[in-house]
């Protein structure tokens, strides 16, 4: 079977259909990205209310940030302990086992802290935000709020957005601190690396501007991305059970990919061949 495509060329209809499907998907994706950007813009525009009424943000910091603490701290500890073991194993081959502290701290502060904490944050808090907003929509709570002359973006979305943006760098910092402690436990207490060398080399090698600040910038960017994606997916979810579950899945997948892609871009800008 052949079919005439839009330019008048005869082509097998299977190919025409496939090309059309791809095209429709791309157009759809670009469209959604546009809607999401507009949504983020509106969230920023309507943020005034949340800053005049800080308790709205604080309540959300509790449910997104504080309730994510356990998973962040425990994961940080284990990641640090693994780093201590693997790092020692590699470094002692070159007789540089005193640099274990440097290795652990730099890996955590530059990369693992922001990235792993953000991935955990996306699956722990991001999915919860999407499910909550999606269900609020499905049960007409957002509609009811609109009918009460209260803008749901100002009252529901904006406080959660800022709570996520504030929580994320703090969680990443705690992840890194816990990780350094884990590396210390394994490296110094278990394996027996010299304690003085562990800490003093770390202090000398870790630069505030280059390492700490850049790590904080990363986690801040991840916080914006994860929270915005989670909020948008919830707000955009079809008001049904499948709709909300699909949106929750998309939040975790999209924000994980966004974190890794953004990390690559940010790292390329921050650490190009220096040091």
């Amino acid at each position: 079977m052949t079919q005439t495509c839009d330019w008048g060329v005869k082509m097998p209809s299977r190919i025409v259909k496939a090309v059309r499907r791809v095209g429709a998907r791309v157009v759809d994706g670009v469209w959604r990205f546009g809607v999401a950007s507009r949504f983020l813009f509106l969230t920023l525009v309507y943020s005034g209310t949340s800053f005049r009424r800080l308790h709205l943000i604080i309540k959300e910091i509790f449910s997104t940030g504080v309730l994510s603490l356990i998973i962040i701290l425990v994961s940080g500890l284990f990641v640090g302990m693994v780093l201590g073991m693997q790092g020692y194993d590699t470094l002692q081959r070159y007789g540089a086992s005193e640099s274990l502290g440097v290795m652990v701290a730099l890996s955590l502060v530059r990369e693992l802290g922001p990235v792993v904490a953000a991935l955990l944050f996306a699956s722990r808090a991001g999915s919860a935000i999407t499910a909550e907003i999606g269900l609020m929509k499905a049960t007409e709570q957002l509609s009811a709020m609109e009918m009460m002359a209260v803008n749901p973006i100002a009252r529901v979305v904006a406080p959660r957005f800022w709570a996520g943006v504030i929580s994320m760098p703090l969680l990443a910092a705690m992840f890194s601190a816990m990780g350094v402690f884990g590396g210390y436990l394994v490296g110094v207490k278990l394996i027996g690396v010299d304690e003085g060398a562990f800490w003093s080399q770390m202090q000398n090698a870790v630069d505030f501007q280059q390492d700490i600040v850049n790590g904080v910038i990363k986690s801040f960017v991840f916080g914006v991305a994860v929270t915005a994606i989670a909020l948008f997916e919830g707000y955009d979810a079809p008001p049904t059970a499948e709709g909300v579950s699909g949106a929750t899945t998309r939040t975790v997948v999209t924000s994980s990919l966004a974190i890794l892609a953004l990390d690559f871009v940010l790292t390329a800008f921050m650490f190009r061949g220096e040091g």
């Binding site: 609020m136 049960t139 007409e140 709570q141 509609s143 009811a144 609109e146 009918m147 009460m148």
Partner: protein
């Protein structure tokens, strides 16, 4: 100067995409009355409430509320108008992360600068009116369907609105709650000097409490009148609806090919 009608639909049409929902609706809701809009599920009743609240805009004609054309209002004007409307959603739509008290207090806290002690008194008065003063510390998940509906009703009238809209207030309630809600709708309307619009398909409860009925079918108004006129009506649709008959102008069967053809009994080989 305000007209006698709080809400007017003037030849209003509305379509979702290409699917027409309302086709040229004319309807008036006089001040102080309780008016029911009745019709089968999915006939566009709820759409009419959303048009009044300005959540969607008519594709043709205009909706006038309190002498203002809803479509022409800007965001501020619309929000101003909505502050004087209360709406009861189908399943209450209570905010699940707030207690009963905070739900009822929500609009007072958002829209007024009243001190917390005054808000407390007002909330307790509203809750008392629906008989749930004692349930103020419960969360919505702890309420039965009928209680949730009553809390939502207290929340809808929290700011003493001029217009109260009810979207299927009777759906899924037991007979006792049904009567309670019905009486509350009438009592609150008269006590507040408000005007009420009840969208419903529950015939007996609503005919007992309303002043006037509009029947909607397939996007047009097929009949209207007082409850007595409607009960006596011999229009086929009204008769079928009020008496709950299975077949009539609203067919039992979804449009399909003939039964014989579907079962391939027509002599053709399958």
């Amino acid at each position: 100067m305000s007209s006698d009608n709080l809400v007017e639909f003037q030849n209003v049409s509305f379509a979702y995409g290409k699917r027409p929902i309302l086709k040229g609706i004319n309807m008036t809701v006089p001040r102080g009355k309780v008016v029911a809009i009745m019709g089968g599920s999915g006939c566009g009743k709820t759409t009419m409430l959303r048009l009044i609240g300005g959540q969607i805009k008519a594709s043709q004609g205009q909706v006038v509320v309190d002498d203002k054309v809803v479509r022409d209002l800007d965001a501020d004007g619309l929000y101003h108008l909505r502050r004087r409307m209360g709406m009861l959603f189908q399943f209450g739509a209570l905010f699940t992360d707030m207690s009963v008290f905070d739900n009822v207090a929500f609009q007072m806290r958002e829209h007024t600068d009243l001190p917390e002690s005054v808000i407390r008194d007002l909330v307790l008065m509203k809750l008392n009116a629906v008989g749930l003063r004692g349930a103020r510390d419960l969360m919505p998940s702890e309420l039965s369907g009928g209680m949730a509906r009553r809390v939502a009703l207290a929340r809808a009238v929290a700011l003493d609105p001029m217009l109260i809209m009810y979207d299927e207030p009777f759906a899924g309630l037991d007979p006792i709650s049904l009567g309670v809600i019905g009486n509350l709708i009438r009592r609150l309307n008269d006590a507040l000097g408000a005007t009420s619009i009840v969208v419903t398909h529950d015939v007996h409860e609503s005919l007992a409490i309303v002043d006037y009925v509009y029947f909607v079918s397939d996007g047009v108004i097929v009949a209207h009148g007082t409850p007595e006129e409607m009960r006596a009506s011999d229009k086929p649709f009204v008769h079928q609806f009020i008496h709950g008959e299975e077949d009539g102008p609203v067919p039992f069967h979804y449009p399909a090919a003939t039964y014989d053809a579907d079962l391939r009994l027509g002599g053709k080989n399958a």
